[in-house]
């Protein structure tokens, strides 16, 4: 950014992506290159990493030291937890959720994937598709990440051979069929040499697609969220106790689906009462309309009793309402899931409780097979279960809406978040 242009800057979009791959796949090198080439690494950070690398006896700068923020991580040379990194180009701001490859793999990748628009999956061109590639692709699909970009890395070590790349591509397509991946793309790269990362590679003229950074800048993310089915989970009721706004009663929240505009015919759940949207406000401005992910305050024409946890929805596109719910879950806790156990739930802005009614199967995430004989769901396991909730939930399937289709389970004794759930 040589000359600051405020209008151009205000035109930037935000893209969140996760990276998957083990250290050996060159993930840190790739992230390091994106950060470095976009000038997002500062001199003092680089100096600190350089000092550390020398102290550890490394010959080259170890870019992983940039993301490994905790003492224990640096000492053991491993990444324990998701690390968030930020960089920007004149077109987009990027948030990378960098997830570690080994320890607590599922838990970390699921966490990073939950808010991502895109997943980068790295494959070492020398080794092709491995068990972990299947695992990464499966989790990305399970979390319904809209875009999947497979980077076939270390092409320089394979003499930039097109056949190697094409073979890996067709292996991935075989898995993709099983997984129902929506938007799948491939790029042959060398993170180390910089081929197809920021600039188009001169070594692979047989590849006609964009380099990675260009793809990240241009991929269309407009329809990644549900713009069709209006949902508004009430978060907080604004009732100013001041003269000027004596009658103001605003329902504050972040739109979880579709659009809301003045005049829209709505239904309030659970009461089922109907009303019409009067205003959609942000800080004193009444808007013509607002859409999914925007934080607003909505006023209705009628005085209805509405509180946190209620949901305002479109009258003709209503969500499902029910107490018996089927879920895919990822388990995060050392204490395994208890069949018949009771847990607290957070879903949209609601707190309810549930009982585990059924464990259908456990997923083998390396082979993608459903295991119906061993149903013990332990730390980092994924499975399908059925729960019954104390109160009805207003929900959509996770594939239709990632906001109204997701929930977390909480252990009531320890208050820990023990599982992520995706409603089927």
């Amino acid at each position: 950014m040589s000359e600051f242009n405020s209008d151009a800057y205000l035109d930037m979009q935000l893209l969140r992506f996760t990276t998957a791959g083990s250290v050996d796949d060159g993930k840190s090198t790739l992230i390091g290159r994106l950060l470095y080439d976009s000038k997002s690494i500062f001199e003092d950070q680089l100096e600190a990493v350089h000092r550390d690398s020398i102290r550890r006896g490394n010959e080259t700068i170890d870019l992983a030291l940039l993301t490994d923020g905790l003492r224990a991580e640096r000492e053991q040379g491993i990444t324990i937890d998701v690390a968030y990194r930020y960089f920007a180009t004149p077109k987009r701001k990027f948030i990378i959720a960098d997830t570690p490859g080994h320890i607590q793999y599922t838990r970390n990748m699921v966490t990073g994937a939950s808010t991502a628009n895109l997943a980068l999956i790295l494959i070492d061109a020398r080794h092709g598709v491995l068990e972990q590639t299947i695992r990464h692709s499966f989790i990305a699909t399970l979390l319904h990440i809209p875009h999947l970009v497979v980077c076939v890395n270390k092409m320089d070590l394979m003499d930039y051979d097109q056949i190697t790349y094409e073979n890996i591509k067709s292996d991935i397509y075989k898995i993709a069929g099983k997984l129902k991946i929506r938007d799948l793309r491939f790029i042959p790269i060398s993170a180390l040499k910089g081929d197809n990362v920021v600039n188009t590679s001169k070594n692979m003229d047989w590849y006609s697609g964009p380099p990675l950074l260009k793809l990240l800048e241009e991929i269309d993310i407009t329809y990644d969220r549900n713009l069709d089915d209006p949902r508004f989970a009430v978060q907080y009721v604004i009732r100013p106790q001041i003269e000027e706004f004596h009658d103001y009663r605003g329902y504050a929240g972040r739109i979880s689906g579709g659009w809301f505009r003045p005049g829209d015919q709505v239904t309030v759940l659970p009461s089922g009462l109907q009303s019409v949207v009067k205003t959609v406000d942000v800080f004193g401005n009444s808007l013509q309309g607002a859409k999914v992910t925007e934080s607003v305050s909505i006023q209705l024409e009628d005085d209805i009793d509405i509180s946190r946890g209620n949901m305002i929805v479109s009258r003709d596109k209503q969500p499902m309402v029910g107490q018996n719910i089927d879920l895919m879950i990822c388990w995060f806790n050392e204490k395994p899931l208890k069949h018949g156990g009771k847990y607290a739930i957070k879903h949209t802005t609601r707190d309810v409780r549930c009982i585990i009614k059924e464990i259908d199967y456990k997923m083998d995430i390396n082979t993608l097979e459903e295991n119906t004989s061993d149903k013990e769901i332990k730390m980092n396991d994924i499975g399908r279960i059925r729960i019954k909730t104390t109160q009805p939930l207003y929900y959509d399937s996770y594939t239709k809406n990632r906001i109204t289709g997701s929930l977390i389970l909480i252990d009531e004794a320890t208050n820990e978040t023990v599982a992520a759930g995706m409603i089927i």
Partner: protein, 301 residues
């Protein structure tokens, strides 16, 4: 940008407002930690937006080392009056006076570390169950591991290796009596985002952020403001320069930037061209590789 898209500053704003409303809904007695710096000023702005036209449902809490830039305190008091908010001040001096804390000595003496005790004391005294902070993940590598909702045990300690997973927009603020939460709505913002947002929303800042003449001295390559309590080494001399603050903290550890920037656009250009992080000039972070992690574990901001 068409109407289906949202610019990245609005996207960050939507997220931060959501978090602030969650705090108001999930907790009984929230505090917003206010230092008078740009991040906490942005926090207050977001809180106003989140609850308009209602007053912000947070008590402002200032942990005061006593070594302030005068402009910060003037700005703070004016803002509090405008908001009609409640302000509580935790004084580091008070703990020194009654013997609960011991002042550091030597040239690099700072009250930075002493803030932790005062912060925890203030949380306990006023029975705050949550404290909102303006910390950002891009500031420092230990902060990069921080959750939006960060659990603290009854000693105020942070356990970075055993944090609750945080997914989607579902924030778990459940805890036992005596424990509390720290919540960081600006987690995903960068220094550049903060400045761009201040520009976009035309947010008022203390004059310290813009160029002004000040008596300073150079210590190990960092420009520090001169004040009566600052102890100078024999080789250090006081000179007057055109400077501005890139961050505002306690006088004893806030490095100043030589600059002639006197508008937000000038500042943004300066940040875009700069090659050092803003904490690169904070001597409190330079003490060791894990300085921030160690302080945070004990209950620092």
């Amino acid at each position: 940008m068409n109407s289906y898209q949202i610019n990245h500053l609005r996207e960050l704003e939507n997220e931060s407002i959501f978090i602030m409303r969650e705090v108001a809904a999930q907790f009984e007695n929230p505090a917003l930690l206010f230092s008078g710096g740009k991040d906490s000023i942005v926090m207050v702005h977001l809180a106003r937006k989140a609850f308009w036209p209602q007053r912000i449902p947070f008590t402002l809490a200032h942990i005061d080392t006593g070594h302030n830039f005068e402009e910060t305190i003037t700005f703070r008091d004016k803002l509090v009056e405008e908001l009609g908010a409640r302000l509580v001040v935790g004084l580091v001096q008070e703990r020194i006076d009654n013997g609960e804390a011991v002042e550091e000595t030597g040239y690099n003496a700072s009250r930075n570390l002493l803030q932790t005790g005062t912060l925890l004391g203030t949380i306990e005294t006023y029975k705050f169950d949550v404290a909102l902070g303006g910390g950002r993940r891009d500031e420092e590598k230990a902060r990069a591991k921080e959750r939006f909702f960060s659990h603290r045990d009854e000693f105020g300690q942070w356990d970075p290796k055993n944090q609750r997973p945080e997914l989607w927009n579902l924030f778990n603020g459940k805890m036992n009596m005596g424990e509390h939460f720290r919540v960081f709505p600006l987690s995903n913002w960068t220094e550049m985002d903060i400045w761009q947002y201040i520009y976009q929303d035309d947010i008022d800042l203390p004059s310290l952020y813009f160029t002004h003449k000040r008596k300073v001295f150079n210590r190990d390559g960092v420009l520090l403001a001169w004040a009566p309590f600052m102890k100078l080494k024999p080789t250090e001399e006081i000179i007057e320069m055109d400077i501005r603050c890139r961050t505002i903290g306690d006088i004893s550890c806030t490095g100043l930037t030589e600059s002639k920037a006197n508008t937000l656009v000038d500042i943004i250009k300066e940040i875009a061209a700069t090659r050092v992080t803003e904490r690169g000039s904070r001597s409190d972070d330079k003490r060791s590789e894990a300085a921030m992690e160690d302080r945070k574990k004990e209950g620092y901001f």
